[in-house]
Structures are given as C-alpha cells and as structure tokens.
C-alpha cells in the first residue's frame, strides 16, 4: 500500500489557488524529490500536508496510510507519523529545546498507547542523535530556535525528525541557506533515517542536496501541478538546463 496518495489536489491560500490538480503517490521506503521554480507551489504542498489552518483544500484528496489526511488536525497528522521539517523554523522564546522535544515525543508515544519517557530515558534516546547532527548539549537548554543560526535551525529540525522517527518526512527546503559542511551534516542525518518502511519528500530548489540524499523519483512542480516526473537524472538535467524548457513544454500541452 502507498504511504501517501494525493489525487487532483486543489488548494488555496488567502483565497488564491496555488495547487491546481496535483497528483502524487509515495510508496514505502521511497524518497521523492519535488523541484520547481519559485512560486510553483512546493512550500504550499508541504504546508497543506502538515495541516496549516490558512491553507484550504478546495477539492481532490490526500490519503495517508489509507486514511483521509485532510480531516486531521496538525497534531493528529504528526501523531500518525507525518513530519514536516520547516523551511523557516519558528523561534519560541521561553520554551527550551529539551522541553519541546520531550513534549513532542511523549505526545506521540501517548497517542500510540506507549508509556511516556522520563528525563533519563529521554537523554539516552537523544544522545546519539545529537552526535549525528553535531549538536552540543548546551544547545538543548536554549530556547527553541531563538538566536540560532540558519544552519543550527535546520540541524535542529532534522534532530527532531530523528527523535520522532516519522513514517513520512516532508523536508521543505531543508538545504536552503546551508554551506557545504552544514549540508553534509543535514544529509547524513536524513540518510541515517532511510529505511524500507519510511518515506520522504524532499522539497528543494537545488540539485546539490540530491547528490547527498539520492532520491528514487524526481518531480517537477510548476503552476500548481506536477508537470514532469523521472529518476534522479532529471534533477541533473534541471540543474544544467533550468526549468524554462519544462514549463514551456507543460504550457504547450
């Protein structure tokens, strides 16, 4: 069974239609890259999947593990195993990182009928993951994303993902604003989570991330729908030729 099935999805933001009949199927263990020019609807797709209030699905359907995703609140989607790594992680002064991570983990465990972890067990779980993400313990005591550099914010997103072990991870431009070294750390984190049962959607603008995290499929999103799909060679072609030839092709159809 597919983890995610999106059919003829139309969605609006502030009354403006951004997604215009998008179709996408993601099977277990698959990594899909979604590329496309600015304004094509990539981030809208990510926000719609996570359940942001002001993004409205007007028609079409999204099924996650066979169930209707649109009906679920954001926290229910997260507890069902969907994770969004934010393009712009939100700063929350006064709430420390440990508190957020532990509250999130326990909320999800509780929803699965598992026992909550205590402080000791939590530290045991997070330690190795911090090593992968090259995050120091001092980082855990800081307020969520407050005063973090761009790279630290993105590493923090991936750290959360490693801890929560989602079944479907949507990474929204997790590579943007990263230098080569930070990109390698982020990619190592993501790759450590690759698993035959876990699927990923990488929303990205650049091909360089896909050199480090190899996708099984590459899709081009333009004008609110997927206009071309292929394997990773498509990403290389896009890198070399840009998007114009595809958008023109799509417009001609």
């Amino acid at each position: 069974m597919n983890i995610l099935e999106i059919e003829k999805l139309h969605a609006t933001v502030g009354g403006k239609e951004i997604l215009k009949g998008l179709d996408l199927c993601v099977g277990p263990g698959e990594v899909h890259a979604i590329m496309g020019p600015n304004g094509s609807g990539k981030s809208t797709l990510a926000q719609v999947l996570a359940g942001r209030d002001d993004y409205e699905v007007t028609s079409g359907s999204i099924r996650f593990k066979g169930a209707d995703l649109v009906e679920l609140a954001p926290e229910e989607r997260a507890c069902a195993g969907l994770f969004l790594a934010f393009q712009y992680p939100i700063e929350i002064p006064g709430v420390n990182n440990t508190y957020l991570l532990k509250a999130a983990l326990n909320a999800q465990r509780k929803s699965r009928g598992e026992t909550e972890v205590d402080a000791f067990e939590f530290m045991r779980l997070i330690k190795d993951k911090m090593k992968v993400m090259q995050i120091s313990e001092e980082f855990l005591h800081r307020s969520v994303n407050e005063g973090f550099s761009g790279g630290e914010k993105k590493r923090n997103e991936v750290l959360q993902m490693l801890l929560l072990e989602p079944q479907l991870a949507v990474l929204d431009e997790t590579d943007s604003g990263l230098d080569v070294d930070a990109l390698k750390v982020v990619a190592a984190g993501v790759n450590s989570l690759r698993d035959p049962k876990r699927s990923m959607i990488l929303v990205t603008h650049y091909e360089r991330l896909l050199e480090l995290i190899e996708p099984d499929f590459v899709h081009v999103l333009a004008g609110g729908k997927i206009v071309k799909s292929g394997d990773r060679s498509l990403a290389r072609e896009l890198d070399a030729r840009g998007y114009d030839w595809i958008t023109q092709q799509a417009a001609a159809v």
Partner: protein, 422 residues
C-alpha cells in the same frame, strides 16, 4: 457608603483608635483631606482606568475588630499550607492586626520588627487613599534593618472578609549599607465575603543599602486591595521590587519611587494574571532626582475572559539629573476577545544626558508558534499552555529567591489555561 458616611464612622469609632490628642488631630486632618478628595475614579488622570467609586456603595467597616480564636485557628492552617521555610522570621497580620501567636522571630540583630502607635503627619499633597489610611490605621508596623539580614522576612496578610476595610501602615527602613529581603503574601480565609485592604508602605533606604521586596497577591475572588509603596533611595541604594497579582476583584499596586542619591537603582517587575471580571492595575512612578541613577520596569499581563489589566509606568528625570538610564517594558497577552488591556508609558524629562526607552506590546498567542508545536504532535490546548507559560516565565525567572520563585511559578502555572506539567 459615601465619604460623609465614612466620616460619620470615624466619629463613632475613632475613639477606639489608639493615640494621643495630637494624633487624633492628625487623623482628623487626614479625614478632612480624604472627604475633600473622595474615593478616586476616572475623573482623576492617574485613575483613568480604575474606578473605586463602587466601594462607596459598600458599607465597609474601616476599624477592623481583633480576630477571635476560631479565626486564628483557620489562619494557622492557611499559613501551614504555604510551606514557608522554617528558618525565616515570620509576621502574620489578620485584618491589619499583628498576631503575635502566629508570628515567630529569629535571633537576628540586623533586623527588628515592631508594631506601635503611629507617628503620622499629613502632607498637603497626600492622596485620598493615603489620607484614608492615616485616618483609620490603628498601628504602624516598622521594619528596621541595620546590617545584613541573615534570612528573608516573611509577612503574611490574611483577610477575613466580613465587609472589613483594614487600613494597614508599614514602614521599612534600611540603614546605610543594610541588606534585606522582605516577602509579602496576601490571602484570605475562604468563603468570607467582601473586604478591602488599603495599605501604605513607606520605604526609606540609606546609602548603598539593598532591599528586595517581593509580593504574591492571591486574594479570594471578592476582595479589593489598594497598595501604595512610597520609596526614597539615597546614593548607591538598590531596590528590587517584584510582584505577582493573581487574585482579587479589584487590585491596584502603586510604586512611587524617588531616586534621591547618585547611582541609586530601582528595578520594578511584575505580572498579573486575570480572568473572570477581575481588574488589576499596576502604577509605577520612578523619579530620577539625582545624576547617574538607573531604573528598570518590566511588566507582563496575561488577561483572560472579561478581565482588565492596567499598566502605567512613568519616568521623571529632573533638570539636574544627568546621565540617567531608565528602561521600561510592558508586554500583554490577551487570551480572549473580551479581555482588555490599557498600557501607557509616560516620560517627563527635564535633563538632556539621558537614555530612556520604553516598549509595549499587546497581542494574542502567535499562530506560527502554535502551528509549529502542533506540527510536532502537541495538541492545541497543551500548545497554548506551553506558550502562555513561556510568556509568564520570563518575568517569574527574575525572582532571585529560589523557593519563592518556584512557589510563585506553581501558583501561576496552576491558574493558567491549558496548564502543563513540567
């Protein structure tokens, strides 16, 4: 009750108040001043958002009787529930009366506390409520600090309701170089009906003295309280005043601080958490009268239901007071569409070498932050609780005395909507 009726009450009961003929004359002068001014309300600029005239309709008794033994017993269990530290001196006041049997002193040569017949005088500019206080306050409690106090002093004020309007007078004097922490807790016996505690505290700090003055106000829902803290700081003196307002129907806490000597410093911080139809008003005036004086004001309000919070922070910099640094912040969180906040910074600056800043925000919880937490699996109610708690913590973290800070934190957290376990 009109001011005329209050005057009548003084004529009837005034004889019960202790003191000489001279003191009686002072009380009568104060009463005349009160009658002239009346209960403050919206027609007075500094009372623009808080109206006390409704108190005129309540037939409060301004001379409170001495509590009976049943009251003492109930008060005793209320105090036990506070979990106060054993090693601290404690003074308990019920309806304004000092209760020796519930208080305890610790051998500490640096600090004395004494309740005595007052030695009032009345300034021509005395406010209505301070005048009322002078007229009816039976005693004056004086705390004198001459060295470094070995432990914080706990003052617990318990109200018994019963339509009493105790007038409580406090004096805190720190000699040069003295250091002390004074904690004031306000609470009531439950189910006791309305009351109004009107408190005046005069604080005098000698050179280089340091006073930490904390306040936790957790009155029952029907209570009124007005407090005027008047402080004068000599050179190098430091005052750190932190308050948390949780209860009461209508509460007003005023600070009138004069920085009279060079390098004197005042930090006034606080928060109020209101719900229902509560009204909480914080008024701060910091008067920089000497050069190189500094001040900080930090206030936060969490306003739920149909409640109303008022903050007015005023900084005055006198003509010859150069090199002043004065900062003020007021941040307000509205948890309901019917909640109301009035926040106003006021600057009166007559010197030119001055750094003054002020900032105020009034807003709701951030949708972006809520969504971020929910996208991690945290349900909406808990997410709101986490964000509200974080808003409160930035003030609570400023209380340096750990046991008091954590006590206040628990008191605040249990009252927050969508409370969280830490």
């Amino acid at each position: 009750m009109s001011t005329a009726q209050i005057t009548e009450q003084f004529d009837d009961l005034g004889a019960e108040l202790p003191g000489s003929a001279e003191l009686d004359a002072v009380r009568r002068t104060a009463l005349a001043r009160f009658s002239e001014l009346g209960l403050p309300g919206r027609r007075v600029e500094t009372w623009r958002y808080t109206e006390l005239s409704s108190l005129a309709d309540k037939d409060f008794s301004y001379v409170a009787p001495v509590p009976d033994s049943a009251t003492l017993e109930r008060a005793s269990s209320l105090i036990a529930a506070l979990g106060l530290m054993d090693d601290r001196p404690l003074s308990v006041f019920i309806d304004g009366h000092w209760i020796q049997s519930l208080s305890k002193s610790q051998p500490d040569s640096a600090i004395t506390i004494e309740t005595a017949t007052p030695d009032f005088s009345v300034a021509a500019t005395e406010s209505a409520l301070a005048s009322l206080n002078t007229a009816f306050a039976a005693h004056s409690t004086a705390i004198r600090v001459s060295g470094t106090a070995s432990a914080p002093l706990e003052l617990v004020f318990i109200g018994t309701g019963r339509r009493l309007a105790p007038q409580f007078r406090l004096k805190i004097e720190l000699a040069a170089g003295a250091k002390a922490t004074v904690i004031q807790r306000f609470l009531d016996l439950s189910g006791s009906g309305e009351s109004w505690l009107n408190q005046v505290a005069d604080i005098e700090q000698g050179e280089n003295s340091e006073l930490t003055l904390y306040r936790l106000q957790s009155h029952q829902a029907e209570q009124y309280q007005t407090t005027l803290n008047r402080a004068a700081l000599a050179a190098g003196a430091k005052l750190s005043a932190g308050s948390v307002e949780l209860g009461g129907a209508l509460v007003r806490n005023e600070f009138d601080i004069r920085l009279q000597g060079q390098k004197a410093h005042a930090h006034v911080f606080g928060m109020c958490l209101t719900g229902g139809h509560q009204h909480s008003d914080m008024q701060i005036v910091i008067d920089h009268q000497a050069p190189y004086t500094t001040s900080r004001q930090d206030h936060r309000a969490i306003v739920a239901d149909s409640s109303h919070c008022v903050f007015n922070g005023k900084v005055i910099v006198q003509k010859d007071a150069q090199h002043i640094d004065a900062r003020q912040r007021s941040d307000n969180l509205l948890l309901s569409a019917k909640a109301e906040v009035d926040t106003k910074p006021e600057l009166e600056i007559y010197a030119d070498q001055v750094v003054c800043s002020h900032g105020a925000t009034v807003g709701e919880l951030s949708e972006d932050q809520l969504f971020y937490l929910r996208a991690r699996g945290i349900d909406a109610e808990l997410a709101r609780g986490i964000l509200t708690t974080a808003f409160a913590n930035s003030i609570l973290d400023r209380f340096e005395l750990e046991d008091f800070r954590e006590h206040v934190r628990t008191a605040v957290h249990t009252r927050l909507p969508g409370r969280i376990e830490s």
